[in-house]
Each structure stands twice: as structure tokens, then as C-alpha cells.
């Protein structure tokens, strides 16, 4: 098949990740959870949510890279995952921009 010949990333996803890596990732996820909970009790002002999301993104990145083997997988999977994240971001940005426009530019409350 063409992608085998052309794509040097085609084979490595049979790469067997050592059990130790899994355990380390697991511990990191547990620590991340604890940090998220702890951080929510600290008043960081407007930074509470960004910090929580940053930790969540890091945890998700660990799961995707190691548990789901994306680190050892063809570039194509990255592209598809990236496409979904891109369009999701655009959905949030587009709808969010509408509401922000109403809130901050004093154009009246949304929907009116």
C-alpha cells in the first residue's frame, strides 16, 4: 500500500511501550488531579480557569501520547486530531466572539 512505501511513520505503532512508562504516566495523571483540586481552592483571580485547563490539557496530552500511543503513531493521526481540535477551537472562538462583542462593546445583551 502506498503509505507504507512513502511514510516512514507507518510501522512504529507496533512499538511496545514499556510498563514502566505506563506507571509513570499514571502517577503523573494522579498528581495532576491532586494539583487541579488543590489549585481550585486557591484564589488565583481570573487565572483559576486557565490553570485548571492547562493542567487538563497536559493530562490529556499524556493520555494521548502514551496510553493512546500517538507519540509512536503515523503523522496522519496527529493531523486528524489536530483538525478536530482546530475546528472545535474555531467553534468556541466564533460563538464566544459574538457574546464577547455584546458584553464588552456594549451592544446590548445578546439575543436582543
Amino acid at each position: 500500500m502506498p503509505e507504507h512505501a512513502a511514510d516512514p511513520h507507518a510501522e512504529p505503532h507496533d512499538h511496545v511501550v514499556p510498563v514502566g512508562t505506563y506507571i509513570l504516566v499514571f502517577l503523573a495523571l494522579m498528581v495532576g488531579t491532586a494539583v487541579t483540586v488543590a489549585a481550585s481552592y486557591v484564589d488565583l483571580g481570573i487565572w483559576n480557569t486557565p490553570v485548571a485547563m492547562l493542567i487538563a490539557v497536559t493530562k490529556a496530552g499524556l493520555v494521548v501520547s502514551f496510553f493512546m500511543h500517538l507519540k509512536y503513531s503515523p503523522r496522519l493521526y496527529w493531523i486528524w486530531l489536530g483538525a478536530a481540535v482546530f475546528f472545535l477551537a474555531h467553534l468556541l472562538l466564533g460563538t464566544g466572539a459574538d457574546f464577547l462583542g455584546h458584553l464588552f462593546l456594549n451592544l446590548g445583551s445578546p439575543g436582543t
Binding site: P2, L76, H90, D98, G101, H102, P110
Partner: protein
């Protein structure tokens, strides 16, 4: 295990190369193919052959097209006279809603991908089937379940919200069958998602050796772009109509202003899918036309890579412009400016395609057979539809034209003049491959011409109606609009005749049509190298691609694009 050595000149079509050998048009005994390999209802309902599933879809969407067409007929009948004398406004609301729901979700979106795409993509890339044949069958069943829900809603009284289900009308005030219809669309969405997923994996993983991306037929490129929208757009509409169904049933407040919900949010989520959905309808038709124009002018397409990439560009940009449906909804004006600007960008890849098709015709050896007539019709009508789309993308002008017949005319030029012309053109072009029979060419040309003129008579006057200020979705109107409405209704009856004709002669040809050779158009592409109709496994051995697609032996064919 050689496939068809000796049957096909290799490489064929080169200047001075051997002409394709004559084939017997009437073989003594029909060889085994996907149609006669087994018989009976069960062999069809449990089939995993992509070609048979394509025919299942073809039958289903034809039924849905007929149902949607009946609603359209009633609408045009009512609009013959200024007063609302045939139906009440409630009935009229249901008529245009059901027309929209059936035509958009159950005909246009599956039309080309699920029939021609299903049939041709594996063959065009030299594969035996789609990557997930059972999933493909499941898609069809999901489509049927979705259709049954919608039919139930129709039979038990219909739905009157418009196909857009705008809240809070749909969730709080309409006492029609919003929930059943919403569920039908929700379920049908998964059919679309799974079809797209299947195409993506198939195109990535199952191409024949040597068939690189830059050798792929443009039909396949177009379907890859379509599948991208299907997979990434459809889930949003599914969850949105799901929320509408929940809101209608339980009054949670998500879209209810009285409880803090926001109806504009619904419009955002709805159009996030439903704008790209327009490209689900038109991109496959563009893929078909790319094939038709080359096959019928016997010339490799002008600027292959630009046409291929413009499909992806349309799919990507299509996701970024949904707000142009909401210029008068109360959406932030500044955001409207951005959406207006990005909407203009979509014109660029669309125009690239139109220019390249036209340039392909230049000095081509053009034969005005039925598929070509449809393709030329497509190019003209799509151009009109696309250019009027620019009017509507202009923020200021849209305030005048929105919710008038100008919009109705515009999107029918794209969806009927574009998508359905493409579908019919493709159906004629590949009909000999699908059924192994030839349709009567004269009748085909007659139907193409009738459809073209009927269509323009139906929707041309609606541009003027809309510009003069006739709003859409009204069943009565001031008498001065009558002449334009009568023209439109007259055109609709001509258009209906144009659609009935192919139904009649296609049905006739399945039994009485002359047998088709493997390559009746003397066209290029893997699908023309296997028998008509193809065997279940498509290819006897593994085809190996050694050259790029569309080598028609013209001088352009040897230049590197």
C-alpha cells in the same frame, strides 16, 4: 491472476497508440457480476458489497426525492394565485418545512456520496471494497431508521418550524412533531458520519500500488473533502438537534430566553454544521463535473492540482463562514464583518474550479452527450448561484435580501442547479457501468435540456421576486407578484417532467437497454477498465497504477502540472 491483459491498450490513449479494440456488445452469456451473483431480498438487505449498498441508497433517496418533490409541487400550486386559497398558512408552513427537511437531510446530503461515491470510490482507487463494508451497510440502515422517524413525524401531522428549527419557536411554541423530526435528523447524522469515516480510511489506506495522491481522480479528492465536513461537522448538528429535542420535551432552558438561554446560540451551532453542509452537497457534484468535463472533452483537466486542492480549501473555509446566515439575527456586528470577509474568500477556490473546467473545454474534442449537457448546465447554474452568493455575503446588501425569494433562488441555484445537475450528470455518465446497460441517448439529451430550461424558468424569476421584496415562507402575496410566481410554477412543472423522464428511461434501460461495453465513453480511469457491470470483487487481481489519471493523449496530457 492477470486482470484484463489484452483487453485494454496499455498505456492507452497516447498519440499514435493503438486504438481500443472493439468489444462484443452482446455477449452470448452474461458473465458473473455483482448484480447477478445472487438473487433475492436477503442477498440485497444483508449485502456488504459497496456497489449493492450504493444501489440501496439510490433507491431510498429516489423515494425521498419523490416525497420532497410532492411537497414542492404543492407549494408551487399554492403560489399560482395571490390569495392563500389552496392551503391554510399552518399547512403551508408544514409543506415548506417537510420539503426542506426531506430534500436537505434525506436527499441532497446522501445523494452523490452515498450512491456514486459508494459505488465508485473503491473502484477508482483499485480496491475491492470500502475499508469497513459492514459499517457501510450499517450506515444505510441508520439512514433508514432516521427516515422512518421523519416519515412518522410527517404522517402523524408534520412539522412547521422550517428546516432550520429556529428556537424558541421550535422548542416552545410549535405544537407539531419537532421531537420526532429532530430525532430523525439526529440518527441520520450518524449515517453521514460513518459514511465519511469509511471514505476517509478507504482513500488513505486502500489505494492501489502506484496510485499516489497526485494521481487520484478528482472525484475522489472531492469526496475526501466532503468526508472531512461529514465527520467534523455532522456531530455538532446531531448534538444541537438533540438539545432542541430535549428542550422541547423537558424545557431545560438551554435556548429559552425566559430562563437565561440564548436562541442565537442555537443559530450559531446550527449553522456551524449547516453551512458546511452546503459543501457536503456541492463538493461531490464538483467532483462529478471534473470527471465529466474531462471525459466528454477528451482532455486532461487544466490545472489538476489546483482543482484538487480547491476542494480541500472549500471544505476548510466552509467551516469558518457560518455567521453569514445570521447577519440580521442580532449577532455582533463586528463579528458579522469578519464572517462577511471570510465568506468572500470561499469564492476563490470555487472560481478556480469554474475557470479550470472552462479552460479544460478549450481546444478539447467536445461531445455534447447527456453527461456533458448536465455538466455544462452545472457550470452555468453554479456560477449564477455562486455570484448571487456574493451578494448575500455582503453584510449591507444582505440586510435587504435576507429572508426574501432572492435567498430561495440563490440556494436552489446551488443545490438544484448545482448538486442535482451534478448527480444526474454523474448518473448518466456511470449508468452503463452501474447497470451494464445503455440508456437512450436522445431521450437523455432531451431530459437534460428540459431540466436546464425548466430550472431557469422556476428559479430565475425568484431572484426578481426577492429583489422586489417578496419574503419567503408566505403562502399569499400582493397581486403584482403574480406574473413572476406563475412563471416559476410553470417552470416547476417543466422541471418535474425533466426529472420524470430519466426515471422512466433508466427503468426501461435496466431491462431493455442495449448492453454496455466496459468503456462506452472511451474514458480514462480504473472504473472503465473493468467489465460493466463490475464483478463483486471489482478487480480480478491487484491493479497497479503506473501513470497519472486522465491521459487523454492531448498535448497537455504530457506536460507536468
Amino acid at each position: 491472476m492477470s486482470t484484463h491483459a489484452g483487453e485494454v491498450p496499455e498505456p492507452y490513449g497516447r498519440p499514435g497508440g493503438p486504438p481500443p479494440p472493439e468489444r462484443p456488445t452482446l455477449p452470448v452469456r452474461e458473465p458473473v457480476n455483482y448484480l447477478n451473483v445472487s438473487y433475492g431480498t436477503k442477498s440485497w438487505l444483508l449485502t456488504v458489497d459497496h456497489k449493492r449498498i450504493a444501489l440501496l441508497y439510490m433507491f431510498s433517496i429516489t423515494v425521498m426525492f419523490a416525497i420532497g418533490g410532492i411537497f414542492a409541487t404543492l407549494i408551487r400550486l399554492e403560489l399560482l394565485t395571490p390569495p392563500g386559497d389552496m392551503v391554510q398558512s399552518e399547512t403551508y408552513n408544514k409543506l415548506f418545512t417537510m420539503h426542506g427537511v426531506v430534500m436537505v437531510f434525506f436527499f441532497l446530503i446522501p445523494s452523490i456520496p452515498a450512491t456514486l461515491g459508494n459505488f465508485l470510490i473503491p473502484i477508482m482507487i483499485g480496491a475491492k471494497d470500502l475499508a469497513f463494508p459492514r459499517l457501510n451497510l450499517l450506515s444505510w440502515y441508520i439512514y433508514i431508521v432516521g427516515a422512518v422517524f421523519t416519515m412518522y413525524a410527517m404522517i402523524s401531522g408534520g412539522v412547521d418550524t422550517g428546516w432550520t428549527f429556529y428556537v424558541p419557536y421550535s422548542t416552545h411554541y410549535s405544537n407539531t412533531h419537532v421531537i420526532a423530526t429532530g430525532l430523525g435528523i439526529f440518527i441520520n447524522g450518524f449515517s453521514s458520519i460513518l459514511t465519511g469515516l469509511n471514505f476517509i480510511v478507504t482513500i488513505h489506506k486502500m489505494r492501489a500500488p502506484g496510485l499516489t495522491w497526485w494521481r487520484l481522480p478528482l472525484f475522489v479528492w472531492a469526496h475526501y473533502a466532503t468526508s472531512l465536513i461529514m465527520v467534523l461537522g455532522t456531530p455538532v448538528i446531531a448534538v444541537t438537534v438533540g438539545m432542541v429535542a430535549l428542550e422541547s420535551g423537558l424545557h431545560l432552558g438551554i435556548f429559552d430566553p425566559a430562563l437565561g438561554g440564548d436562541p442565537i446560540l442555537f443559530q450559531h451551532l446550527f449553522w456551524f454544521y449547516s453551512h458546511p453542509a452546503v459543501y457536503i452537497m456541492i463538493l461531490p457534484a464538483m467532483g462529478v463535473v471534473s470527471e465529466l468535463v474531462q471525459g466528454m472533452s477528451r482532455k486532461r483537466i487544466f490545472g489538476y492540482s489546483f482543482v484538487a486542492i480547491s476542494s480541500l480549501a472549500i471544505a476548510m473555509l466552509g467551516f469558518l463562514v457560518w455567521g453569514h446566515h445570521m447577519f440580521v439575527s442580532g449577532q455582533s456586528t463586528y463579528l458579522g464583518l469578519v464572517f462577511s470577509g471570510i465568506s468572500f474568500l470561499v469564492a476563490i477556490p470555487s472560481a478556480v474550479k469554474v475557470f479550470n473546467w472552462t479552460a479544460t473545454l478549450y481546444k478539447g474534442s467536445i461531445s455534447l452527450d447527456t453527461p456533458m449537457l448536465y455538466a455544462l448546465g452545472f457550470i452555468g447554474l453554479f456560477t449564477i448561484g455562486g455570484l448571487t452568493g456574493l451578494f448575500l455575503a455582503s453584510l449591507g446588501l444582505d440586510v435587504h435580501l435576507t429572508d426574501t425569494y432572492f435567498i430561495v433562488a440563490h440556494f436552489h441555484y446551488i443545490m438544484v442547479g448545482g448538486a442535482i445537475m451534478g448527480y444526474l450528470g454523474g448518473l448518466h455518465y456511470w449508468w452503463p457501468k452501474i447497470t451494464g446497460r445503455l440508456y437512450p441517448e436522445t431521450w437523455g439529451r432531451v431530459s437534460a435540456i428540459i431540466v436546464f430550461f425548466g430550472f431557469n424558468l422556476t428559479f430565475g424569476p425568484q431572484f426578481i421576486l426577492g429583489y422586489l421584496g417578496m419574503p419567503r415562507r408566505y403562502h399569499y402575496y400582493p397581486p403584482e407578484f403574480q406574473i413572476l410566481h406563475v412563471m416559476s410554477s410553470a417552470g416547476a412543472s417543466i422541471l418535474a417532467l425533466g426529472y420524470l423522464l430519466p426515471l422512466v428511461y433508466f427503468t426501461w434501460s435496466m431491462r431493455y437497454g442495449p448492453r454496455a461495453s466496459a468503456n462506452p465513453w472511451d474514458a480514462r480511469g480504473l472504473e472503465w477498465e473493468i467489465p460493466s457491470p463490475p464483478p463483486t470483487e471489482n478487480f480480478v487481481g491487484q491493479p497497479v497504477v503506473t501513470d497519472r489519471t486522465y491521459e487523454y493523449g492531448s498535448e497537455e496530457g504530457t506536460t507536468v502540472v
